[in-house]
């Protein structure tokens, strides 16, 4: 696989050229012991928005920075837009837009000056004014970075990623810490970019963000991909569309009793799965109207007093919990 790195790989034929990102067996080890990425395979198609989900420390940022050519992998192969970092760094840099996790841009430069600076690095790119409008920062055009709100700063960061008119956009936790309105504004920017045919790789630990933006998501934990598919497929894999969470006034003390209780609920009509998780019973349910009375009946029969009960539509969060037994943001 050396030599012909600049050309599409022959054995894959035209399928390869339809991929924005293709990596195989990606590995990254720090100081020869901390394994951040452990044999990751990933394909992102052209025109697709792909979300890497996972808790903090799962290896998302390391993976993204390897794909961005900022980190060298310890093992595995990476192809971006059909090319390799070792041979085509310049070519790739001209065609990628990058927004790092927590970048601070220069405090005393204005929005316009900052975008213009980033524009100057690219041989070809977008018009500075168009980008300012695109990220809805026209009003703040002449405001200095240190006077911007968190959401405005993040939109400026994305503007700097978009100004080179990239084919592929990397966004590392673009909305972490932002208020709901700022998040929605940023989502609109990403959706607009996608609509024009751009590919996106984003990392997030917000499941609603992934469901809103991503065509496909990969769930990553301890440096490994543990699930891959469209948000709908992953949620469907739970077996039920509703989640019921039951908190008891007094939980059974030992794990065996907890498992037994969970198992006794799993067989009830409408209940697809049941488990104890951090003090609650979490049930995946197909038909709420059947399952709920049955569950309540069972608990009454066992003389267990309810402290709380809630239901919600299944989300990617529940997928993650089911896969790992841990909540995403613990």
């Amino acid at each position: 696989m050396h030599g012909a790195a600049t050309e599409p790989l022959p054995e894959e034929g035209s399928a390869t050229s339809e991929l924005s990102i293709r990596c195989r067996g990606l590995q990254k080890t720090y100081d020869e012991e901390v394994v951040a990425v452990d044999g990751l395979d990933l394909e992102v198609r052209v025109g697709e928005c792909f979300g890497l989900l996972g808790p903090n420390g799962a290896g998302k940022t390391t993976t993204v920075e390897i794909l961005e050519g900022l980190l060298r992998p310890s093992g595995g192969t990476v192809e971006i837009l059909g090319r390799r970092w070792e041979t085509d760094e310049r070519w790739l840099r001209e065609r990628l837009g990058v927004s790092l996790q927590q970048t601070n841009l220069p405090d005393k430069l204005t929005v316009r000056e900052t975008i213009k600076l980033f524009r100057s690095f690219f041989t070809e790119g977008r018009d500075v004014d168009k980008v300012i409008d695109l990220v809805a920062l026209r009003e703040k055009e002449h405001a200095k970075y240190d006077t911007l709100s968190g959401g405005q700063r993040q939109r400026l960061a994305v503007a700097c990623a978009l100004v080179g008119d990239p084919k592929l956009l990397f966004l590392d936790e673009p909305t972490t810490g932002l208020d709901p309105q700022s998040r929605r504004m940023l989502w609109d920017v990403v959706l607009a970019f996608k609509e024009q045919g751009g590919s996106v790789l984003l990392t997030t630990h917000y499941m609603d963000e992934a469901e809103r933006l991503c065509d496909r998501v990969g769930v990553i934990d301890h440096g490994k991909m543990i699930a891959l598919g469209t948000p709908k497929d992953l949620i469907d894999s739970l077996g039920g569309s509703q989640i019921v969470e039951v908190t008891l006034a007094a939980s059974p003390a030992d794990d065996d009793a907890k498992d037994a209780l969970a198992a006794s609920l799993a067989d009830l009509p409408g209940v697809k799965a049941s488990r104890f998780l951090t003090g609650r019973i979490v049930l995946t349910v197909e038909h709420l109207h059947l399952a709920l009375p049955a569950v309540l009946g069972k608990l009454r029969e066992r003389d267990l007093e309810l402290a709380n009960l809630s239901t919600h539509h299944a989300t990617l969060e529940d997928v993650f919990v089911t896969l790992t037994g841990r909540a995403l943001r613990e």
């Binding site: 900022l70 927590q102 601070n104 000056e113 213009k116 100057s120 200095k144 700097c160």
Partner: protein
């Protein structure tokens, strides 16, 4: 063909934008403005006043009167000393005399020697003003007690521009300014950029790394005349310190010196993770030069053993060259060696900086 032209234009645009950004960040930070422009002026005013040419200060001495026996002789010494122009004298009891000597209010204490003629001088010979006081006091007292001089010396007092302390000081301040703005201005902002992950962000663009480094030097070169002109004009008007040599030679010397320290700033910050580390490094590097390289007093005052080291420091070379041009009217050929030495420091630092630079 047209693509290479457009690529070249794009590259020029990138360097310009990088330099513009540096320039904006510079003038929008009031602190850096003060340290670059205000501080050298303030320093030259303060030092100019402190060392302005004036009548020599009289030496201040105390005569100690400890007992009735010595009181009469103490009083006689006071009379002799009071008659001299360049001595200020007072009579004090022993404890007070010692306290004033300790705190530097008097430079020397004269004690009538018990039981015999003559006086004892109590002073700290490591203090220049005390040694001066000893010599002056001894002279006055010996003459007062009847010593005859072998001859009467003729004194010619020098006050013409070029030989005053301020003439020595201004080139030193120019050199000091070039060093601090180069090291601090570049080292600090680079480290700050690295802390903020801005360098990493920039390397994720097609920006050429050489353009980035070049922009720092470009901005230094543009700012140099703007920094130096006020100090030189000010010292010309207020202290009548001129430039004897050619302004071109001075400008070239300053440019090479300024860029040398700018590159040393790049080098010191090439791996530092945060501004604290860089300030430590800059202090370690600049403090010895601050003291030894002849900013405030001649570097020749240090022992011969360390002279070879001092002579090869970049600030020593720069200060020598600046003084040569400003005071002695040295030509470019005269100072070429010194400028060259400076440039060697610059080139070595640049190679190391580029080799070791951490782009993250």
């Amino acid at each position: 063909m047209s693509e290479s032209v457009s690529a070249r234009r794009a590259r020029l645009n990138a360097i310009t934008e990088l330099a513009l950004a540096r320039f904006r960040l510079f003038y929008r930070e009031p602190g850096t403005m003060f340290w670059t422009f205000g501080f050298p002026l303030v320093l030259s005013i303060v030092l100019g006043i402190a060392f302005r040419n004036r009548d020599p200060e009289p030496v201040v001495v105390a005569v100690e009167s400890s007992s009735a026996v010595t009181l009469a002789r103490a009083e006689r010494a006071r009379e002799i000393l009071a008659a001299a122009d360049d001595v200020k004298v007072k009579v004090l009891p022993p404890e007070e005399a010692n306290a004033e000597l300790r705190t530097g209010k008097v430079s020397l204490v004269v004690v009538p020697t018990e039981g015999e003629a003559g006086y004892t001088y109590r002073f700290d010979p490591t203090r220049p003003e005390s040694r001066l006081a000893r010599s002056v006091t001894d002279d006055v007292l010996q003459r007062g007690e009847g010593r005859k001089d072998a001859y009467a010396p003729v004194a010619k007092i020098v006050t013409e521009p070029g030989s005053r302390y301020i003439d020595f000081l201004i080139p030193g301040l120019v050199g000091l300014g070039l060093m601090s703005t180069g090291l601090w201005g570049i080292g600090f902002s680079l480290a700050e950029m690295r802390t903020k992950k801005l360098i990493k962000r920039l390397t994720a663009t097609p920006m050429r790394r050489s353009d980035f480094l070049l922009s720092f030097l470009l901005v230094r070169a543009v700012l140099l005349p703007i920094e130096l002109a006020p100090l030189l004009v000010f010292s010309r008007i207020v202290f009548d310190v001129g430039v004897r040599g050619s302004v071109f030679t001075l400008a070239l010397t300053a440019l090479v010196g300024g860029l040398t320290f700018a590159v040393m700033g790049l080098f010191l910050a090439c791996r530092a993770e945060n501004p604290q580390i860089v300030s430590g490094l800059i202090n370690v590097v600049s403090f010895p030069m601050y003291l030894c390289s002849g900013v405030f007093f001649s570097s020749s005052r240090f022992p011969d053993a360390v002279q070879p080291v001092i002579r090869y420091l970049p600030l020593t070379a720069l200060n020598d060259a600046l003084r040569g041009v400003m005071i002695d009217g040295a030509s470019l050929a005269d100072v070429a060696g010194k400028i060259g030495l400076c440039a060697v420091w610059g080139v070595v630092s640049f190679v190391l900086a580029v080799r070791l630079f951490k782009w993250r």
